[in-house]
Amino acid sequence: MGDLTNQQFFLLISVVKVVVVFAVLMTVLAYLQWVERKVIAHIQVRPGPYRVGPHGLLQPLADVIKLVTKEDLIPPHVSKPFYILAPFLAITFALLSISVIPFGPAITVDGRETYMQLANLNIGVLFILAVSSMGVYGIALAGWSSNNKYSLLGGLRSSAQMISYELPLSLAIAAPLLISNTLDLRKLVDSQEGSILHWNVLHMPFPQIFSFIIFLIAAFAETNRVPFDLPEAENELVAGFHTEYSSMKFASFFMAEYANMITVSCMATLLFLGGWVAPWPAEYGSSFVPVVIFAAAGLIALYHASQAKLKMDKLTFPAFGVIFLIIAAVFLLPIVQSWLLPLFWFCAKVGAILFTFIWIRGTLPRFRYDQLMGFTWKFLFPVAMLNLLVTGFLVALRP
């Protein structure tokens, strides 16, 4: 590979990155659904998907096959161009933001430095804000073009909700940006280098706990998740804006929702939780955390294998136990540690936030609509403003 020019290398590595990210993202999207069903099932003390594959692990695959092969029904009386355009817009804008999110530090491939990121933008934060603000069109158009009053109401609610929650969201983002003094997502992470005490969420003397919580709440609303899933409140609006959609178009909205969840989780991680930075420095042993975790997981799997009652489990548990142990071993290899460790921490943080999303969905009831709007305008917005003001003052006083 040594004979490639810089431009050829750039093209090649970009293609590789796009392929990898796309494949991983799609898998994650599919399996996030499985995780959600499983977690909620366990919160509600039931097993969840169990039939397709071991512990329902192949359920997402089955879902995909089902959705793709279903008849793509276009109801009469819909506004056809917009009806088709809407899911396309939704999924496009949802996936677009992933392109600027960095997953890890710069790594060296073949003697050349490259980023674990599809495109490095020095206004990355603004880009994500811009793209996410466009996401509302998909939902609004879907609601309107369906020519169905439930859909329309869902679309209207969604537009109003997303416009309203964008304000506290932006204000909450502004506070950590003030501290880090950059809009570049990589530099944002670099400014939080060190330990957990340097993450923006705990950054002394202005810990951004409030803006982190505000960001999470607003993100729930932006992604139309429980407890803010008014646009698709099934007991009021059938299925909200996507009532009339089926097959892949329906799947697009679904994927858009989960992609948005991943985006905001990544944003929260980058802005507040220090991105791929370990909670404490490597010299105090943070690099052994993944090894311990994966090894423990492997051992637990093996233990369960010895106790397994089902026939299938006797095969799968040992297999997974071994896989986990291998992963644990991989983390010990110094060659890959440099990029695998940051990736691990990043994924761990994103995963934790995604788990919070699911956890809250399993716990909280839905808001009433007027409460939803009152909450953002009368509480969230002023608090975010105040937080920004205080942070601004403290930053200005910073020597």
Partner: protein
Amino acid sequence: MDVILFFVFAIIAVVCAINVVVQTHPISSAISLVGVMGSLAVLYLLLGAEFLAAAQVIVYAGAVMVLFVFVIMLLNAGTEKKEGKSFAVQLLGVPLLVALLGIVAFFVQRLFPTTTVHFGGFTGGGVHEIGMALFGPYLLPFEVTSILILIAIVGAVVLARKEMD
């Protein structure tokens, strides 16, 4: 590269703008307008206006136009009716438009014969530069804008509050 980029997005912009004018349903016009704004944002990037490009998408496409779409949906505005007429428009509209476009295009060609644009030719449009200017020499207009927005909010609330009677 730059020329291709310009042409692609200029053509998208013009086609979308024509669509804004000729579409009979407001929502089609609105979505077309979003297209215009999006392609203008790309042209801003070409001109080195990073911040404005982002602001264009966030403010215009993401907020103002959403508001439009929202109102169109709220009012359930249908296709417009061809009633009412204005003799002035019928008589003078097209000639004046052609004259305006012709004159402006002519003078533009005459006045700016040499300067050319290439990507990266202007680097003063980043967030930092805009911020330094806004909170430096242009602080007063900026602060006045905040008052303007406050007035707009109050005005909008008052107007929209009025009950139908």
